[in-house]
Chain length 354, copies 3
């Protein structure tokens, strides 16, 4: 949480990311930044030829690159196989996160029948209910709630005001961002025209759980509903952005990326490595195949085959969508054209009739 990291030698940093250094290893590096924002003393990265111009103009002292870029006067290069990844590793090295001291703080509530690892941290205002377990080095911030018989693994972070409802299972190295909700009731009702007080939506008890596997990150105010029966599953290494809705009995991942404000309806499957862009909706009971990608704001109403890219509402293969979008822009012209053609046909018809 320090704002000013200690400076390091460029040679040390190149070694840290396993890169080949073209430049002075003694150069003192003070921080990291994007190509445009970086200045002298900064390391940046260049991983996409789209940013060639920014690369040419950068004032950084060193840039992480892949491939055979020529060195430039006054700019050191560090050749690595994956500049973006190397940049992430350097950020981690520069800004090490200090874990809060372990222990149950005054003002925390831990039920006598709960099991909290002695190396875990439970802050004031956090709750661990009866039968719940909290693993080693896991941190519960104020307002975090772990319900009865819920389990949270090792090395997790539950930020302020996170809710993990009863019996849900959280793996290890999971990050739950502030105000996310794991295990609220799924949205299930049976219409009963003859309830005691008239027609009603009779609540279908949601007796299943949510299972969040290892290395998952759940965004702020994201909601993952518990299964009606059985499990809603967020698979290993999946990352959910903020304000995402995962309905009951959904299975997502492993390694999926779901961007902000996207929603997945009940019992849908979102496969391995799938990317859902922002504000996408997926209807219930369908499957988005492994490694498929869905464009922003799309509405997926049918199965998406493995590896395909879909867009639009309703979503179709991306190429079709591009064609339809282009055509839509030509609609007004088409109408005009049609009217002109009709007049020409009328003229011909008159001439023929004469």
């Amino acid at each position: 949480m320090t704002t000013a990291p200690a400076p390091r030698r460029l040679g040390e940093l190149a070694t840290l990311v396993g890169g080949e250094l073209l430049g002075d290893p003694e150069t003192l590096i003070h921080g990291l930044n994007g190509l445009e924002e970086a200045g002298p003393g900064d390391v940046s990265f260049y991983g996409n030829t789209r940013y060639r111009r920014q690369f040419e103009a950068t004032r950084a002292s060193a840039v992480l690159v892949s491939g055979e870029l020529p060195a430039r006067a006054g700019l050191a290069l560090v050749r690595v196989s994956n500049p973006h990844l190397a940049y992430a590793r350097l950020l981690k090295a520069f800004y090490p996160t200090a874990r809060p001291a372990p222990g149950v703080r005054p003002g925390a509530w831990v039920h006598p029948e709960a099991t909290v690892h002695p190396e875990a941290t439970v802050m004031h205002g956090a709750s661990v209910e009866a039968g719940a377990r909290v693993g080693a080095r896991t941190v519960l911030y104020p307002g975090a709630y772990v319900g009865e018989q819920a389990q949270v693994g090792d090395d997790c972070v539950l930020y302020p005001n996170v809710t993990v409802r009863e019996r849900c299972i959280i793996g290890s190295r999971v990050i739950l961002h502030a105000s996310c909700v794991v295990g609220a009731d799924g949205f299930g009702f049976a219409f009963n025209p003859e309830g005691e007080d008239g027609p009603e939506h009779y609540k279908i008890p949601q007796v299943g759980i949510v299972r969040v596997e290892d290395d998952v990150e759940v965004g702020a105010c994201t909601c993952i509903d518990r299964a009606t029966i059985g499990e809603t599953v967020v698979g290993r290494g999946t990352k959910l952005d903020n304000l995402v809705q995962i309905a009951h009995n959904v299975r997502v991942g492993p390694l999926a990326l779901i961007c902000a404000q996207a929603g997945v309806s009940g019992s849908a499957e979102v496969g391995t490595g799938v990317v859902l862009a922002g504000q996408v909706g997926v209807v219930g009971h369908i499957r988005v195949g492994d490694l498929a990608k869905v464009g922003a704001q799309s509405g997926v109403a049918h199965d998406v085959p493995d590896g395909e890219v879909y867009s639009g509402s309703p979503a179709v293969p991306h190429k079709e969508w591009l064609r339809a979008s282009a055509a839509l822009g030509q609609m007004a012209d088409l109408l005009k054209e049609m009217r002109a053609l009709r007049r020409r046909v009328e003229t011909l018809e008159k001439e023929m009739g004469e």
Copy 2:
């Protein structure tokens, strides 16, 4: 909250739902599940001919059905008028929810001028402010907040980190899921080009309240804004999914169903029994008529008549939308066709000219 419910005799269960049993009443039932997931010892339900194949293949011991389905060797049937509803009732019977012991727990904050029913439960970290009332058997989980002069009826559940702001009124048998917010200020500003420090959006005080009627369920991270003046109303038996936005002075329900991530803008009316699918948007000051249905991701910009089904953005009658969607897919062909026709007309014109 038990995971393994006690087994029961099939005959007893058939009686419980008022069904006609075709099979052995002594069959021991251990649980419930969907047609595909169910195994021996399970009861399932079959309420929609779309799932005929799953019904034929189920390994369940018994299935709740309607109508005159023939019995099958090794599969008991329980005939009821509404299999889905009967299934919900059995789930409730199998998984009875244990209400936490009543009382104000240590670490809870109840203002001396608040009124909490002796049978209510207020957990550690929950707050009830001055002049607020909490009814019988209502449960406030940690982090739940009931503001000044707010009222919560009987048999409600306020899950962790729920906020009910000052003066709002919650009926009885209402479920407020984790991190939902009832009574935040509506989004109202008057542009003032000549504020003290330059132009400003001058805040319009939001002095009204939210009234949530009996038997409503509000999803996790759902927001219901207080009225500018008067009341925002969520009518009896309405169910709101997660991440829904209900703006100031809206009236919804009774008995409406609003799916995840849908939003209703200021002063709109959403009538009795309306269904808004996921990610729908409704603009302000319009009316969605009783029993209308709006398809996923639709944008409702004008009144929807009672009983109609609308789709699209902007939303139109569903049939029109289907036709337009189909036509959109044909656009590329239409353009081609148009060009071909133009060439034929040109040929004719030349021939006529000769």
Copy 3:
């Protein structure tokens, strides 16, 4: 928080808003309301000719108007330059908000190394961490969390269960509604095909902050992510509605209005005075120009020039979108027309061939 404000003389109210009164200054005014809802003793406002009919029919005792409207028997008029703004001022005068008594309440958690102004209020269950600062007259409701070294200015309100993460900076006169989250990690990962346990999305540390400038309002369950490096900025006087997503390194405002459930992706810029309607999405790394407006549910995929109005997904200039939308409705007719025209051409061709 009183429900029945004290009555006031109309003359006094006219003076308060600097208006010209046409009517009896002794008239006793009991409250305010919309034209349709108002009754005798109420003041209303008429600022848009769309509501002419409601103005003609109102039962209010007085109406705030602009321009040269003729007075009417039994209806006093108060002429002002901006009736909506004057109405807001009267609402504020009628319903003064009582600030809770200052002080750190029992059950609040303030770190010994935090700085809380003696005139600030920190309620039970709120937290202020090490190195954090809370300004004068600022109110922290239960469950509000101010992280390490975060700063909150003067005259702010942090409603229940608000999270302000470490090092974020909140200006003065800022309102953070319940369960909003300022400073959660941005959504940034580098794909690493060769992680220790197989492929992984390697987390890019998000070491920047969020800066919320003066006079900003942030809606309930709205999320503003911290920058990867540097700052995510919400500029002075900007108002964010509920359930809005502001991604890392975004710059919004000053004076922008972002309606409910809209989302702005990473590193995008949303300029001065921009209005994004509900459920709009803005992709990353683009710019929405000053004073631009974007229609509900639009998807902004490219820069929007200053002052333009855009709509649609993908968003185009509003006029183009209107034309395309209209054309889409005519698609089915167009197809029919095309077939008819083709037949006529065929007939002509036959006749020519004869």
